[in-house]
């Protein structure tokens, strides 16, 4: 084999980099952190169950948007009371931090929803 010294060193370096996350985990470190959205404590129930919200909250928000803006239906019934279909006013009332809730998973998955280009987060209110 030509240049065997360089090739073997190259292979070793590659293997080292490749298994570095595993080594880090063995050493007690954390190569990977699961997103940890902060769930509000004082409220017991969301509008839908957790699994549904995890998978479909974006569809639900789009549906709300269409109902409110285009169909002029601003309110819905939840647990016997009238609530407003509003991201800023209803969702963020319980989930009171965009950074601790929305951003946790969105950053992890590298998705950039444009909700907040216009809708004002609780953090931004002066």
């Amino acid at each position: 084999m030509y240049n065997s010294g360089k090739v073997i060193i190259g292979i070793l370096v590659f293997i080292g980099i490749f298994i570095s996350p595993f080594l880090l985990n063995f050493g007690g470190g954390q190569a990977h952190t699961k997103p940890d959205p902060k769930i509000p404590v004082q409220y017991e129930k969301c509008i839908e169950d957790v699994e549904y919200m995890k998978a479909y909250h974006m569809d639900m928000l789009n549906e709300w948007r269409d109902l409110v803006v285009r169909e002029n239906q601003r309110f819905m019934q939840f647990e016997g009371s009238k609530i407003e279909m509003s991201l800023s006013k209803t969702c963020m009332k319980c989930h009171s931090s965009k950074v601790d809730f929305c951003d946790e998973c969105h950053n992890y998955l590298d998705v950039n929803p444009y909700c907040w280009d216009c809708h004002v987060t609780p953090e931004e209110v002066q």
Binding site: R74, C118, H119, V120, V125
Partner: protein, 254 residues
């Protein structure tokens, strides 16, 4: 199959007749029956009492500020970039078609509040390529959907009243006391007055009317006993550029 000249002309004529009989007639019908969209139970309209604003110089600013606060509207110095939902102009600018040079100066300089006229026959909605703006049939409000606006500004060119503004920059740095109850807009989006549709759906009147100390009257034009109808029945009223056939629903009384 060979098509001779005569056959070709016959077919062209038939297709043209078909087009005229459906779409064409529909358009003609729509144009001549502008008021038909007005047959819903609710038709929001506004009466602005100019004399009350003339006698109270602070009042226009109060109304404008209420709107700015309610809707997170930026305050921009550069006139070319300003965002205006409701704003003040002298009478001579607001009613250019009156062309009465011998009016008293007090009237010529009188402040007139201008806003979207929420026309019954709005030219802005016809030109929107994404249906980001449309006339709501249930109550006549000319709505905006900022989610859909692509910023082509056709609507701004179509509106004869200059009621629409374009966000040339991110408006957020120029917004005082931004609150989360109403969204801001973003760069590249057109915006305008929506008759406070968010307040209407909660049973409230528009923010400017609320603080106007009775100088603005808001109500249902299709309800014969509403304050708007009673005022219009008793007072002489003007509308801006009615000759264009847009059927504006903001009335001015003096």
């Amino acid at each position: 199959m060979s098509v001779n000249r005569r056959k070709f002309l016959e077919m062209t004529g038939a297709v043209a007749a078909l087009g005229l009989s459906t779409k064409g007639l529909e358009l003609i019908a729509k144009d001549s029956a502008h008021g038909n969209g007005n047959s819903s139970a609710i038709r929001w309209a506004m009466v602005i009492d100019l004399s009350k604003f003339m006698n109270n110089p602070q009042l226009t600013k109060k109304c404008v500020d209420a709107c700015i606060k309610e809707h997170n509207i930026p305050k921009i110095e550069n006139e070319n970039h300003q965002i205006k939902w409701i704003w003040e102009e002298p009478y001579t600018h607001a009613f250019i078609e009156q062309e009465n040079e011998k009016l008293p100066n007090a009237i010529k300089d009188m402040p007139v509040l201008l806003l979207c006229n929420h026309c019954d026959n709005p030219p802005c909605t016809d030109v929107c390529p994404t249906q980001a703006t449309w006339r709501r049939d249930s109550d006549g409000v000319v709505m905006m959907d900022w989610h859909r606006c692509i910023g082509c500004r056709y609507c701004m060119a179509a509106c004869p009243y200059g009621s629409r503004s374009f966000n040339w920059f991110d408006p957020r740095p120029d917004i005082d006391n931004m609150h989360a109850d109403y969204p801001t807009r973003k760069k590249g989006v057109v915006e305008k007055c929506t008759f406070c549709d968010e307040r209407l759906s909660r049973g409230q009147i528009p923010a400017c009317v609320e603080v106007s100390e009775g100088a603005m009257i808001f109500g249902n034009l299709n309800e014969p006993l509403s304050p708007v109808r009673r005022t219009l029945a008793n007072r002489f009223s003007l509308r801006r550029k009615p000759e264009l056939g847009t059927h504006p629903e903001i009335y001015y009384i003096l």
